[in-house]
């Protein structure tokens, strides 16, 4: 079932069963059951990269006309070295620039220190069809220290709005 832009009515125009069922029934049912992709998971990626690199496989969602996608992701980041570093997850749509990120920033200042991260992202209106969203991560030096981070992703879901 897809969303159909409802039609305006004016005085004297007949609302047929087809119009009613499309504009109200079908559209309300569509809103009640939006397209959802629930990705994984329990994905672990260790990285030292200072540029965004994939930390989770891409998830796909098929949208209808005029739809945005809400992405919700969460997990935790663990410091694998010493010194102060930043762990930054972000997201990319259809593997195209620009990145929508960093979506979160986690300061890690001690070996094995770990903190949770989570962020939500709403896309621009996407063209109808299948789109992929992929989580990326990178390490940013804090206080001049280069480091390694373990990104664990626990939640990664997509909802068509």
């Amino acid at each position: 079932m897809a969303w159909t832009t409802p039609t305006s009515r004016s005085v004297g125009l007949l609302i047929t069963p087809t119009i009613w069922n499309t504009d109200l029934v079908d559209n309300l049912l569509y809103l009640k059951t939006p397209v959802v992709t629930i990705g994984t998971t329990y994905t672990v990626t260790d990285t030292t990269s200072t540029t965004f690199v994939p930390i989770v496989d891409a998830q796909s969602i098929t949208t209808t006309s005029g739809a945005r996608v809400l992405m919700i992701a969460s997990g935790w980041a663990q410091h694998l070295e010493t010194g102060t570093i930043l762990a930054e997850p972000g997201v990319r749509i259809d593997d195209a620039d620009p990145y929508a990120g960093p979506g979160a920033r986690v300061w890690l200042s001690g070996t094995s220190e770990q903190y949770t991260w989570s962020f939500a992202y709403i896309s621009n209106v996407l063209s109808p069809g299948t789109h992929t969203l992929r989580l990326y991560g990178r390490v940013a030096a804090g206080g001049g220290t280069q480091g390694a981070v373990r990104f664990t992703t626990r939640t990664f879901l997509l909802i068509e709005l």
Partner: protein
Amino acid sequence: MREIEMRIQKNINIPALDRAMRARFGARISGISRAGDTLMVHVLEPADGDDDAAREVLAAHDPTEQTPEQAAFEVVRQAPARAAAIPGWATWDEQQAGTWITDNVKDLASAKVALIAMARMLVALRDAQWPGLGLDK
């Protein structure tokens, strides 16, 4: 950017391997990543021979060799145990420490024993407080 992917068939010390890769590739890489049994080298400026170079670095990698930072952290981790191993000094309160010195430090030789024990405690405290103090940053 180009990703060089390699299957990992041994343990990996990520920080140490990262340093080895950066020593080989310089600023041409942004770093390395590991997901499961796949290692990726993120090459910003690809050049011929990169794949072979990455494989050589991985083949030569010894995961038991620590980076200076890892070695410094190991020293920090062991500091409490080293302090606890100094007889008496790990548990005495102020009065007990003073009493021991009064009763036992009689000459230069016995003073040296006390000084050495105190030096061991100071070194353990230094290591716990300032890990990597001597590291070149």
